[in-house]
């Protein structure tokens, strides 16, 4: 094994957690660098959490601020819940990367700047009049100017590669340097390089050399005097992998389909940040997965409804604007009472809004956004790896209750990643499905006593020929019916069916005391930030408890009781107060909203301050 132990004597400091932000041009390979660092840190046993920060532009001109691509990783020897409020280290490949990300670097933080990137042209593109590495403006930070490009070139000198190729290896130099600094294993990356460039031995050599050059540079040069050690975290034993929310979602759906022995059918139309669900699932045809890239979102969902009608697990995935287009069809699925999962990977809005930024402002739309009384079940994932669970849970409920289920995720957890403890397939529950087959007294709208689900009777079954549709149905027969009493009855059934799901979901767990001064109620991707803030506040001795809702309609049955046990209830949301509105209405508690609509997640710090304020006042 490649030995990454220093030969010289340097000081080693132990840290509980570190946040590194890699930033450069879109073409600088920062995503790759970040991913490699992630794997290496995971293997080093840290807990971690990451977030990529893609530019809104596909490929902006080099050197511009809007072309900066970043990747942030937060790793530690304790439980890590977020990619980090502020970074400890900023690796900046050019001035634009510095300009965009400096504001998130903590005071006294480390800047590793690629000297060659700070050309007059790039400085100008980034809007710097003078070179900030030289003008003293960075005196609050520890600035390391490293000749990344030059040193990489030196290391590869004798390989006779084109200058473009050499330039493209510089991210591995930076990675190597960081590996040195945080004492990470390099072998996984070397193996990755070998595998990736199997057919191009010269690139294996080049990238490996660049990596090692960075590693050795840290060791040899005098400018770095300290290395840091981040001990392994205490994690539940098991096999882990790093996973993004969208990948986890895809796996969750495949698992649900497999465990219910149904074919999985995804109807989708590409949209940021949901497209990866389509990309992922389209690779797994061997799991009996069919993916349909439809002409639009309406075709995507209606095709999924057609597939569910045919006996598949029909699902669709989209984001806000596409979600808006699906509402009429969701109403049809409500009326036809067929299983269907609609994943909404929320993004900044309204309208086209901020497509690459995160937000959690589609809750209202999910719960209320249809014509007339069209109740559906609504769930939300809390973290990237929770996307696996929630996809499975959404499918389970959809099938068992013969209902559409809306699953909310968002850009933050969809693209963010964290270690996922890989389950064993055999440990996962099966989802029982029984297609109706008995023609004797068949009633398409008879109901299961407990769940109120109607039978799933699919075409191809002899003797069950019947018709369903979007007009109001007669109780039991499912025939078209306009009678007043029948309509009320069916409206009630549809509402009651969703309500009954509450009997079938776990109570929400409270973290902290069961009563006290302040309860924080969260949902969705804010889980990490809220958890961090609450942990810190509790560490300071404050009476703060936390609950996090994954079931938003219906709510867990114990929710009301918990709310009433606290003097104050705070609901932090990346919207203008949507969950808060619903809680206030349902439980008549004076829940306090804390809102942020900036296309960004909460900082734990912001929440901590808000908690302080509330407990003070």
């Amino acid at each position: 094994m490649e030995n990454n132990k220093s030969t010289k004597q340097k000081k080693t400091e132990t840290l509980d957690e570190v946040v590194i932000h890699f930033a450069g041009d879109s073409g600088d390979g920062m995503q790759l660098t970040g991913t490699q660092f992630t794997t290496s840190s995971a293997i080093a046993g840290n807990d971690l959490n990451t977030f990529p920060d893609f530019p809104a532009e596909i490929r902006a001109p080099a050197g511009t601020t809007y072309g900066v691509s970043g990747f942030q990783i937060h790793f530690g020897s304790r439980k890590i819940h977020t990619p980090g409020d502020r970074s400890d280290v900023l690796v900046a490949m050019n001035p634009a990367a510095l300009r965009v990300n400096l504001k998130h670097l903590r005071d006294g933080g480390i800047i590793i700047a690629n000297n060659q990137g700070f050309t007059p042209k790039n400085l100008k593109l980034a809007g710097y009049e003078k070179n900030p590495l030289e003008d003293g403006s960075l005196s609050n930070y520890q600035v390391y100017r490293v000749d990344v490009s030059k040193l990489t070139a030196n290391a590869l000198e004798d390989l006779n590669l084109g200058s473009k190729v050499v330039e493209r290896c510089k991210n591995f130099f930076a990675l190597g340097l960081m590996y040195w600094m945080y004492d990470r294993p390099v072998e996984p990356t070397i193996n990755w390089i070998k595998d990736k460039f199997k057919s191009k031995p010269e690139l294996i050599e080049a990238n490996t050399r660049a990596l090692k050059a960075g590693l050795h540079y840290g060791d040899i040069t005098e400018i770095f005097t300290t290395r840091y050690e981040v001990k392994p975290a205490k994690l539940e034993p098991g096999t882990y992998r790093n996973i993004t929310g969208n990948a986890a979602l895809a796996l969750g759906f495949i698992t649900a389909a497999k465990k219910s022995e149904l074919e999985l059918y995804l109807g989708a139309y590409p949209i940021t940040p949901a497209s990866d669900v389509l990309h992922e699932l389209s690779q797994y045809k061997n799991f009996n997965v069919k993916t349909f890239q439809a002409e639009d979102e309406i075709a995507a969902i209606t095709a999924a409804i057609g597939a569910s009608y045919g006996g598949s697990l029909g699902i669709t995935a989209t984001s806000g604007p596409g979600m808006a287009l699906k509402m009429e069809a969701i109403g049809l699925a409500v009326m036809m009472e067929l299983p269907l999962v609609i994943a909404d990977i929320q993004r900044g809005g309204p309208s086209t809004g901020l497509p690459t930024k995160t937000e959690q402002a589609d809750l209202f739309q999910a719960i209320f956004g249809r014509n007339s009384e069209a109740p559906v079940c609504v769930l939300a994932a809390a973290t990237p790896s929770d996307c696996f669970n929630i996809a499975y849970e959404a499918s389970r409920i959809a099938i068992k209750y013969m209902t559409p289920v809306i699953l909310l995720s968002d850009g933050y957890i969809a693209n963010g990643s964290e270690p996922w403890r890989i389950p064993k397939a055999k440990d996962l529950d099966t989802i029982p499905v029984k297609f109706h087959t008995d023609p004797e007294n068949f009633m398409p709208y008879s109901r299961d006593e407990k769940t109120l689900a109607r039978p799933w009777a699919i075409p191809g079954t002899p003797g069950l020929e019947h018709r369903i549709g979007g007009l109001e149905k007669q109780d039991l027969t499912g025939n078209v019916n306009y009678e007043p009493e029948n309509h009320q009855k069916m409206v009630n059934y549809r509402a009651e069916k969703i309500e009954r799901i509450a009997d079938d979901i776990p109570d929400v767990e409270i973290s902290g005391e069961r009563e006290g001064d302040l309860l924080i109620v969260g949902w969705g991707s804010t889980y990490g930030s809220i958890t961090s803030a609450v942990e810190r506040s509790r560490a300071k001795g404050k009476s703060v408890s936390q609950i996090h809702l994954r079931h938003l309609n219906p709510f867990p049955k114990n929710l009301g009781e918990i709310l009433y046990n606290f003097k104050k209830v705070l609901v932090p949301e990346l919207n203008m107060g949507q969950l808060s509105t619903i809680l206030r209405s349902k439980y008549l508690v004076p829940a306090i909203s804390y809102n942020k609509v900036q296309g960004l997640p909460f900082k734990a710090e912001e929440l901590e301050n808000k908690i302080d304020e509330l407990l003070r006042g």
Binding site: T39, A42, G45, P188, W192, E236, P237, T239, Y240, R241, N242, L251, I254, T255, K258, Y265, G267, Y284, K285, N286, N288, V289, K290, F292, A294, E295, D296, I298, A299, T302, A303, A304, I305, G306, A307, Y309, G310, G311, S312, G314, E328, G331, M336, I422, P423, A425, L428, P459, G460, P462, G463, L464, E465, H466, R467, I468, G469, G470, N479, V480
Partner: protein, 344 residues
């Protein structure tokens, strides 16, 4: 369609396709005939009832599935082709039919229609074209004639109509036909032909809405008029029409012209000979353009019929191949893909 062939010996009759629902179209509506002919000819398409699904959107015509004793799905306005596409992809073993109207298919549903055609997904789409919105009580539709006066166009519509056959061809449809509600035999034969086609089959049925657009097609359906106004397309045969079969259609360049074939100047040999499955769809397109030309007879019959891979079977093939080639869906393998590490 092999797997859906009727397996029992029993041969269906029209009655087997009649559901227990009261038919609620206006008395005299052309939809009754389309229903009756479909019920009459369905025993001949050789598919088990249990394997047939009728999907529709919204409109008078879209009530059709309720009356067929097969599986049926009465969807939402304009989305029938998309719903049916999803169903057919999920269940290529089924025989999936779409009943739709000129508003449903060509107004709100136009996009799903052209995409179904383009993909050549194996659906049979039956358009009940009455050139009006029936269910919403009489607004003009995308097939209504320019200048039509309706509730929503009291000064005459300024919309030029679609030519549904030309549109379907331009959208790459592989089977395109037209027939008439009041020509039962022809209607039956076209439904049967569509049933036999693999790929998107589009049938435009001219249908009389006797309440809001009465007589729109009487020149094509009523005795004494139809003879001179309709020309029936038959594969391999010249285009002959007229009460005494004394007229024909001839091409002048790309322009069809009517000629007499009983005055010695022209004979059948000079006429345009129909070829359903020509190399390309230009011939069908020329025929489609005869539609609104007041000088020319309106063609009915199969304009075009050609073979191409279907979306649903190709999709199924990919799944089958993947399952053969790669491990057939092992979850543990899937979960453990890529870089993993162990915490002890």
């Amino acid at each position: 369609m092999a797997d859906t062939a009727v397996k029992e010996q029993k041969k269906y009759t029209a009655k087997d396709f009649q559901s227990d629902q009261d038919v609620r179209w206006c008395p005299g509506c052309g939809d009754y005939s389309i229903l009756a002919q479909t019920q009459r000819v369905f025993p001949d398409i050789g598919v088990n009832k249990k394997d047939i699904v009728w999907v529709s959107g919204i409109g008078c015509s879209s009530r059709f599935p309720y009356y067929m004793d097969t599986y049926g799905l009465h969807g939402i306005h304009g989305r029938a082709p998309a719903i049916a596409s999803g169903l057919k992809m999920a269940r290529p073993d089924l025989s999936v039919w779409v009943a739709t109207g000129d508003g449903d298919l060509l107004s709100i549903g136009g996009n799903h229609f052209i995409h179904a055609c383009r993909r050549n997904i194996d659906l049979k789409i039956v358009l009940f074209n009455n050139q009006i919105y029936g269910l919403t009580k009489g607004q003009y539709s995308p097939t209504s004639e320019f200048g039509k006066i309706t509730k929503s166009s009291p000064h005459g519509s300024v919309d030029h109509p679609f030519n549904p056959v030309a549109l379907a061809l331009g959208a790459e449809c592989t089977f395109v036909a037209r027939t008439l509600d009041r020509d039962p035999k022809h209607l039956q034969s076209i439904i049967k032909a569509a049933g036999e086609h693999t790929g998107t089959a589009f049938i435009e049925v001219y249908q009389n809405c006797n309440v809001f657009n009465d007589g729109a097609f009487f020149h094509l359906t009523e005795k004494g008029q139809k003879e001179d106004n309709v020309v029936a397309l038959e594969h391999g045969k010249p285009l002959v029409f007229g009460a005494n079969q004394d007229k024909g259609v001839r091409l002048d360049g790309f322009t069809p012209k009517i000629v007499s074939i009983d005055n010695g100047e022209y004979s059948k040999d000079d006429l345009f000979v129909h070829d359903e499955n020509a190399d390309n769809d230009v011939l069908a397109y020329i025929l489609s353009r005869m539609t609104y030309d007041p000088e020319l007879p309106t063609p009915i019959g199969v304009f075009r019929k050609t073979q191409k891979t279907t979306y649903d079977s190709e999709m199924q093939n990919q799944v089958n191949k993947a399952r053969e080639k790669r491990s057939d869906g092992d979850l543990d393998e899937l979960f453990n893909k890529g870089e993993t590490w162990v915490v002890e």
